[in-house]
Symmetry: C2
Subunit: 232 residues, 2 copies
DNA sequence: CCAAAAGTGTTATGCTTACACCCATGC
DNA sequence: GCATGGGTGTAAGCATAACACTTTTGG
């Protein structure tokens, strides 16, 4: 590992697939590139890894810079390294995916700046044409999200701190793209024993007010010990 | 993405966790480092990414260089990028894991060369002290392998082209570290409908000869279409 | 006939799915 | 009293897990 066959410059970028569910649909945050290559094209937010910065740290930084908020969930997805994937030279893309609550997504002011001329939320299932190999990255992130929903507590990252079971269900439906039976859904998530019912209810509204739940981190730990959760 | 905040040199290494099951145990191939840093320590085989080479291509090349054989299964694991993980400077490690059949593992002549003074198979559950952050990489690979065994066809990567059901079961047991019920195991793998019984039997031996099976790639495709398989 | 591994079914249990009605609230 | 979403139970089918004996072969 000390023999170095190539000294061609290499850079590493961290790209983030930022998901949120708003108005009943799964959205992804994209930026419009303000500089070449792919100037004017939509792309995943991202940037180069800096000196002394870890990969996850870089992802968090990008996320903050791009949205001004923190994600409930951030995890490494895959590293893309085709030699020609970036016309500027050799760039590895370490892709992350992040989940934002609707509150966070609303609070986010997707900031132009850096390479980004503008930033906007798109329907994640019908994205515009994307720069680089970002279509593949987005596809992969969608797959992974659908998968993890069933298995892990990732779904709770897309929901506000307090939420009704119907809201949670709508999030699952938006991600999976299909209807779920209400009774079965409730039975299943309650059986996980990671939800705490609060005393409060959704603010008085037109129909019957719903009970608010919140995610319980301590119960969650027990889940992990039982091996129910999926680390990847 | 064209603003470049840091020009400190960056390199990418591809490290491979090469598994095989031999004599009833899950083994991992390690090399003994012949050069600093960590000279004399055991480490995962790996090397620097070369110009014009894709990540998976680099992994395949390393694997060939290290063992002289091809893997039945190769997949990206995770990218490790702590700034201090390599004392020589900034090095990203893109980790892969590979599965070898016992035949391939036997045919492999783990070659010294490059940074490696020697190479040897170790019990994957009781590895020696490892260089760099390789303990974390190995742990992660073990987790992933256990996970994938259950619901992907990864397990077939650890078995010869033709194998008996008992051999397959022993492989599962070696990886999972527990006994499995013979009848349930057989029912389950046969229900997958990816195994073809061949006419042949294991060469005449002392006890009753067993039927040989082989993996059927076309049936496997149907499985994937049914969504039973897991892409990660 | 003995040793050694191959092969084979049934039952109980829990999980998943499908399915329909009453309830509480604001207007 | 009506419109709206909130909330609840049961039965069928399916997968999983536990469990023991007979068969084939070579020596």
């Amino acid at each position: 590992m000390s023999y170095i066959p190539s000294m061609a410059p290499l850079r590493a970028a961290v790209d983030i697939v930022i998901f949120a569910v708003t108005r009943g649909k799964l959205r992804v945050l994209l930026i419009k590139r303000g500089v070449p290559p792919f100037e004017g094209r939509w792309a995943l937010p991202g940037g180069f890894l800096r000196d002394g910065e870890g990969l996850e740290g870089a992802a968090r930084r990008e996320l903050r810079e791009e949205t001004g908020v923190d994600a409930a969930f951030l995890e490494q997805l895959f590293t893309f390294g085709e030699p020609k994937r970036d016309p500027r030279g050799r760039v590895l893309a370490v892709a992350y995916f992040a989940l934002l609550s609707p509150e966070a997504a609303a609070a986010a002011r997707p900031a132009a700046g850096g390479d980004a001329a503008e930033a906007e939320w798109f329907d994640a299932h019908e994205p515009p044409a994307l720069a680089f190999d970002h279509p593949a990255i987005l596809d992969y992130a969608l797959q992974r999200l659908r998968w993890k929903l069933d298995w892990s507590t990732a779904g709770f990252g897309l929901v506000p701190k307090r939420f009704t079971l119907t809201e949670l269900q709508k999030v699952f439906e938006a991600v999976l793209g299909r209807k779920i039976d209400k009774r079965n859904f409730r039975r299943k998530v309650l059986a996980l024993e990671v939800l705490k019912a609060t005393k409060e209810q959704r603010e008085e509204g037109l129909p019957r007010p719903a009970r608010l739940y919140e995610f319980s981190a301590d119960k969650f730990e027990r889940l992990r010990e039982r091996g129910v959760l999926f680390p990847f």
